[in-house]
Every structure is written in C-alpha cells, then in structure tokens.
C-alpha cells in the first residue's frame, strides 16, 4: 500500500492507466513488475529483504514492484513461464542447496536461470545447545562424537538448515574418521519445532538463528528454555560489518566469539567451513539481457547512494551488492564448495 497516494492520483486518470503502455520508456523495463520470492512467509527474512530491495528499485526506476510470497516451487514456475521481464525472483542459497540435496522441485539454477546480482546477507545462521548441556562448544561436540556419544542435531532437511550439519559431519570425518556417524540428524520443521525438540530433550544441538534464539541465551541456566550459541556459520568479516550493537543484548563482538576462527569447523583440515545466507536475484533464462542490465545498474546506483545499507543493517542484514556476472560466478564457486562437503559425507 506504499503507493496509496499514487493510486488515488491514478484513479482520477483510470482510463489513462489502462491505456498506458506496458513498457516504461526509461530502461525498457515493464512498468509493473512482479517479484516472486522463494518463501511463503511474509514475516520472514526473504520477504523483508525483498521488500527493502523492491521498494528501492521501484523508487529508482519509477515503476511498480510487487513482492509476492508464493514459495519456491510456485516462484520457479512463475519465473519459468515469463521471459518478458514482468516476473523476477529473489531467493537465497536454498535455491542451489535444494538441488545439491536432491529435493524435489529444485533444478540446477545456474543452467536454468540467470543468477545474480546479490543484494544482502542474513548472517544469523547458528547452532545452539541447551545452556546446561555437557557440550558447551563445538569442540565438545566433536569430542563427544569421537568418544562414541550420539549427538542429535535438529535441522530442517534439504537446504540452508542442513548445510551446517553436513559441515559438522565433514569436520568430524576429517578430525576423527568414523566419528561422523555419531552426529545424526533429527529432521524437523520450523524454528518452533527445533526449539521444542531441545526442550523435550530429543535434540542435543539445534539449528537456529541469532535473530530468533538470542533472547533464549540470556535466560538463567535453570530455565528449561535456556540455550547457548556454539557456532555461527557466518564468515568473520560478515559479522564485523554488522552494527556494533549486534542483536538484542549480544554485541557484534560477542557474536564474533562464535564464528571462525574462534570456533573452528574445518572444511578440509586447513581452512574453516563458513556459510552466509545470501539473497540474490534470479531471472528467466530468456529475459532480455538489457533488462537485466538495467536492474543491475539501478541496484548499483542504489547501493552507491548508501541509504539502503542503513535500512538493511537496522534489520540485521549485511549489505552485499555484487554485480550480476560477478555474483553468478561467485555463487557457482560457493555451490561447488558445498557440493564437495555433501559428497564427502555421503560417500561413506
């Protein structure tokens, strides 16, 4: 309803609106763009991020951009049907992780779509244990697994939530071959379900996020709901860019205690595994390259102006604009790295 006043004005010239050409003259972009996202939630991070970007793009290009939370499978379908540039998509790493994990409905995005530019990172992906758990750190987790203790990790299968778990198994395999079998998944759904499994004592470690779980880490240890971060999958430099206040009662500096190199989940014995949830555009493969370039150029100017970064950071997102070609190559390399992790643990 951002365009309330605009639409009241438009109502006066209703017929003019109907008759107006589909293409706005400026960048040869359609005047009404539908931005579908891979999430069904309008309260989640994908929607919020996309709304920030859509708003900025609409103002910059003087067009309408409407975000529709149709979910991944409908979003891909809608994108595939429309090569005119009237439908575009924003999603995150799930789009290729789903494919790596072999989830139904996820094709290889690099073959079927034009990928990039990237716009932001949600740095909050985290793993937590109960506050009074005998395992107080990732080191303890790996030690327990090596000692033959079954460590149950609550995740949602097939994507962003599972990749950190796969990395744990991979690290356990490198440090103590065979111990990875003791790190087992408890496949569940929403954050509520993951928390509940921990409260029930049915999971030893849960996947969570700084945003959703930070307050639980400040509860007294005697509280059944009290939790402790053991690992943030983000890169060190990602968290360093966050506002120094961090999230809630936890400053960025305190958060850094849970990222590499302070917490090490090794990727190959020498470098640490990291995962940043990055949001990026996806376009129909046959969409006019000029249109994509126009969106890319507009984003570049928006990020150069420097205002959007403040909005993003206020919502605990890390600005991360990379031009389309660069972003595409970068994400492809990222994908290949994760493919290695997943292959290495499924090999045995």
């Amino acid at each position: 309803m951002t365009g309330l006043f605009k639409s009241i004005a438009a109502a006066v010239g209703f017929t003019a609106m109907v008759a107006s050409p589909i293409l706005a003259s400026a960048a040869d972009l359609p005047s009404n763009i539908r931005l579908v996202i891979g999430s069904k939630s309008t309260g989640g991070d994908t929607y919020q991020n996309s709304a920030i970007i859509a708003d900025a793009l609409a103002k910059k290009l003087d067009i309408n951009v409407k975000v529709d939370a149709v979910g991944s499978s409908e979003a891909f379908k809608a994108l595939q049907r429309d090569s005119r540039g009237t439908t575009i998509m924003i999603f995150h790493d799930q789009s290729y992780l789903g494919n790596l994990y072999g989830v139904r409905g996820y094709d290889d995005i690099f073959e079927n779509y034009v990928v990039g530019p990237t716009v932001a990172i949600n740095p909050g992906n985290a793993y937590l244990v109960p506050k009074n758990s005998p395992m107080q750190s990732m080191e303890d987790v790996f030690a327990a697994a090596a000692a033959g203790v079954r460590v149950r990790v609550a995740i949602q299968a097939g994507g962003v939530s599972e990749i950190g778990f796969s990395a744990m198994k991979n690290a356990a395999r490198i440090m103590n071959p065979g111990s990875e079998a003791n790190i087992v998944p408890v496949n569940t759904g929403s954050q509520a379900d993951k928390n509940q499994l921990m409260f029930d004592g049915q999971a030893d470690v849960i996947n969570g996020s700084v945003q959703a779980n930070e307050q639980f880490t400040h509860l007294a240890a005697s509280d059944q709901k009290a939790m402790r971060f053991v690992w943030l999958t983000a890169r060190e430099e990602t968290i360093e860019q966050a506002n120094p206040e961090g999230m809630g009662n936890t400053t960025s500096e305190e958060l850094l205690a849970f990222t590499t190199p302070n917490v090490s989940v090794t990727f190959d014995g020498s470098t640490d595994f990291t995962f940043d949830k990055e949001f990026f555009f996806l376009f129909n493969k046959d969409m006019d390259a000029d249109q994509i370039a126009a969106i890319d150029a507009a984003l570049k100017e928006i990020f150069e102006a420097g205002e959007i970064q403040k909005t993003q950071k206020a919502s605990f997102f890390i600005p991360n604009y990379k031009p389309q070609a660069e972003a595409s190559a970068y994400l492809k390399a990222k994908r290949d790295q994760y493919r290695q992790v997943i292959d290495s643990i499924s090999a045995n």
């Binding site: 309008t42 709304a51 097939g158």
Partner: protein, 496 residues
C-alpha cells in the same frame, strides 16, 4: 517513552480503523484476517511500532470476528475458524433468526476475546512454559481429540467417519511438507498432475469451493427457484435477549478457554479451536440433538472459541518468539521491521509496548462489538438481495480469495472449482461435508505429529506413557468417543 504519550488519538484511531477493515475482510467469503494483516504490514513501517501494532491487532481481532457474518447468513465460513459457526448459525437464519444469531455470535466473540486477553495479560509467561510441555505426542493427541468431533458432527456415524477419513486422505495429496519436517516426497499424486499438485490442495480454496460454489451449484440445479422464498425470511425473528446466555456461562468460559489454549500451542492451528469447543459443548449438552438445527449454544461455543484464539496465539509469539497461528506469523514481521526482537525477554524488555498491545486488543474487541452491533441490521439484509445478484458476486469474491491466499497461484482458483463440484457430488451421494472438511484441515498436522512421534521414540506405547498430559488427553478422547456413540444410538432408537 511513557505509556500515556503512546496512547494518542492516532493510536485509538488506528485500532478502530484496523478493526473495521478487519471485519470487512473477515466478512467477505475468501478474504481472511491473515490477508488483512499481510496487506497492511508495509504500512506499519512508517507508523512506528506501537501505532503499527495498534492497526495490525485491530485487523486481527476484526478479521477473526467478521468471519461469523457470512457463516451465519450465507452458510459460507468467512474464515476457516468459523466453520462450526455455520452448523447452527445458518439454520438459525433459515428459521428467520439471522439477526439474533449474529448478535449471539458477536457477544460470544467479545467474551471470548476478553477472556483470552485476560489470560494473555496475566499468565503469558506461565502459559508459555506450560505450552512447551506439549511435544509431538501431546500435540498428536490434541489433534486426535479434535478429530473425534467428526463422529459428533455426523448424522450417520459410519458415513460421517468415512467422510472424515476421506478428508484426511485428500489433505495428504502432494509433497510431505519439508517446512513442517517432512521429506518433500510426493504421494497420492498421479504423474500428469505433479506439476500442479506439488503442494497439494490449499485449505481456503477447498473450503470456499465446498461451501460457496457447491451451494450455488445446488441452487442452480433447482433453477434458483427459491429466490423469492429467501427474501421472505423475516429479518428479526425472535428478538435477541441477553437471557439467551443464561445457563451458558460455563459454555462461554469453557469455549473461550479452549480457544485460548489451542492458540497457545504453535502449529495446532486456529480451526481446531472452534471445532473442539463446539464438540465439547455438544457432548456436555443435555439435548445434543438440537445441534445442527439452530442451537444458539453451538454459535456461542464456536464464536467464543475462535475469538479466544486471538489472545492465545499471542502468548507464544510474545514469550517464545514463535507464532501461534498464521496471522501472528505475519505479526512477527511488524516487530522485525522495527528492529524489535520477540522472544522470552520481550515482555520484560518492552513493558510499555506490551501494555500498549494489551490496550489495543482491549479497544479492538470493544470497537468490534460496537461496530458490529450497529451494523447488524444492515448486514442481515444481505439475505434479501436477489440471488441472481448476490451469487455471482460471491463467486467473484471466492475467486479473488482463492487466487490471493497464496499470493497469486492460478491453480488455487481451479481448486475452488474442483471442490465446488466435489461438494455438489458429495451432496448427491450423501457424503458428509462437515466431517470431511475437519479431516481435511487436521490431516496434515495429524500426520506430522504421528510420524515424528514414532521417529523420535520408535514405539507406539509412548503415546500412553509420555506424560500425565497424554494420559489426560486419552481420557478426554475416550469420553468424547463414548458420548458420540451413545448419542448415535439414541438417535437410531428414535428413528427406529
């Protein structure tokens, strides 16, 4: 900031405006409270946290309440949680008591809203701590308990239960939802429909197909003959007196509490609240035969429970950071937009926002009551609109509702047609729609909780041994089934 400085005329204006818009959304078949909140969410960014929440909470309360209007007057539930309102509300309209039914429903809504608000304000943290004692097992038993309603709502026990299980079966079509913990694999989908049925049939199009389109098809088959009869229905009928609530205090409190409590349990889903409350009222009633034929008790139970939901669903949101239903899931967005975290520390860290929310809810409930009481005379006249005008408009609104529920999926519109036809055929072959839709609504939750319980514990006995809550739920389930069977026997004896 001081609480008093927040409570500006703008604050109250926004609550009132939100409530009115919410009622309109709720009253139009196919439009829901969730949609109203989603649509207005972007507005709140510029309003600031408290004013934004004032608007959204007004929309929430209004949207849930508005659903009773089409349920009572047109037999089309405006929102999924008013399904059980149709069961007795519409017969009352047919008896010429539409206005009375609306007044009963609105008053019950107010009571339900206020009781749950009190529970929220006084006991939120304690209730949240109790809610986390409900694991997959207890949640499965709650769903199972709600499913026993299928028996209570059937006119023929065997056919009713068959219809209910058919509803469950059809709800399982599509992928085993990954986002709820499934493995994302398809089942029960023919190959040529895989493209469309990946996420199965959505609830809202199924609902408005079964209740909206099917009703219109049945009327069309009879040539819209009773067009005149309908307009003959007296508006007014038996006058509404507060005395109808005499002897209903326990019903009101029980139903509101059920609504509040179901709201507190994340994932169980709002529709379960009114379904449970309705069946409990029927079980406890001295003359259960009246139910389904225009018993005011049924409307009271259903409406006080679905408004009881509003306070309940905010409990896990504000004390665990976890939404209790689909509407509160969007409310989270309003907090994060303003950089406010919701979680176990929220109430302690933001006492003023918390108080402002409670006041907004209180005002919303009162505004809802006043606006609807005032509007009733006019609303009730909708049944006098000629069918040839009313029905096409309803169909158009159903299309809009189906298309927009998932933000623009054309298959949802076809779902509306498929289930409109199904509802028509079901009517022909005497399948029972009420148990069917209840099975359809509760099926996916029943599956997840059942399978996950076994996955975690690996034994069937856990359903009996998990906790005292589980044992208590089994007792309730047994009582509920026993009641349904004895009622069915009595009915059979009368028929014979």
């Amino acid at each position: 900031m001081e609480l008093l400085s927040i409570l500006s005329p703008l604050f109250f204006g926004l609550v009132a405006a939100g409530t009115v818009v919410g009622i309109i959304f709720g009253a139009i078949p196919g439009m829901t409270a969730t949609m109203a909140v989603a649509v207005c969410l972007p507005l709140t960014y510029s309003l600031g946290l408290e004013n934004g929440l004032a608007l959204l909470l007004g929309l929430y309360v209004g949207g849930i309440s508005g659903g009773l209007v089409p349920a009572i007057l047109l037999n089309i539930p405006g929102t999924p949680s008013s399904i059980t309102t149709t069961l007795d509300g519409y017969p009352m309209t047919q008896n010429g008591e539409g206005e009375r039914a609306l007044k009963i429903g609105i008053t019950s809504s107010l009571v339900g809203g206020l009781i749950s608000l009190a529970a929220l304000y006084l006991f939120a943290p304690a209730l949240a701590d109790f809610a986390i004692k409900f694991s997959y097992i207890e949640k499965f038993l709650i769903i199972f308990f709600a499913l026993t309603v299928m028996a209570a709502l059937s006119s023929s026990l065997l056919i009713g239960i068959f219809s209910g299980f058919l509803g469950i079966f059809i709800s399982l079509i599509g992928a085993y939802d990954i986002s709820r913990g499934g493995n994302g694999e398809l089942r029960l989908v023919p190959e040529f429909l895989e493209y469309y049925l990946e996420s199965g049939f959505s609830l809202l199009p199924v609902l408005i197909g079964l209740f909206g389109l099917a009703t219109i098809l049945i009327d069309a088959e009879h040539g819209m003959k009773d067009a005149k009869e309908l307009s003959k229905i007296k508006i007014g009928g038996a006058p509404f007196k507060l005395s109808v609530f005499k002897g209903q205090i326990i019903n009101l409190i029980r139903s509101s509490s059920i609504g509040t409590f179901v709201g507190i349990l994340p994932g169980v889903g709002g529709s379960a609240a009114s379904i449970l409350a309705y069946s409990q009222e029927k079980n406890f009633s001295r003359n259960p035969d009246k139910f389904g034929k225009g018993a005011p008790e049924g409307v009271i139970a259903s409406e006080s429970a679905n408004n009881g939901l509003t306070g309940g669903a905010l409990v896990p949101l504000l004390s665990l950071g976890i939404p209790g239903d689909s509407t509160t899931a969007i409310l989270i967005g309003a907090f994060t937009l303003q950089g406010i975290q919701v979680g176990p520390l929220f109430i302690g860290n933001n006492p003023i926002t918390w108080d402002a929310m409670i006041i907004a809810m209180l005002v919303a409930n009162i505004v809802m009551f006043l606006v609807m009481v005032f509007a009733i005379r006019h609303l009730a006249k909708v049944v006098t609109v000629p069918k040839n005008i009313l029905f096409p408009i309803i169909l158009m609104m159903c299309v809009v509702g189906a298309y927009t529920i998932n933000y623009g999926v054309m298959f949802d519109v076809w779902t509306l047609l498929i289930f409109g036809l199904f509802g028509y055929l079901a009517h022909k072959i005497r399948l029972e729609i009420a148990p069917f839709i209840i099975g359809f609504i509760l099926g996916p939750s029943a599956e997840i909780y059942f399978v996950k319980s076994l996955e975690s514990f690996g034994t069937f006995s856990i359903f009996f041994t998990k906790s005292w809550i589980a044992v208590l739920l089994w007792v309730l389930i047994a009582v509920s089934i026993a009641f349904s069977i004895s009622v069915a026997r009595k009915k059979k004896r009368i028929v014979d």
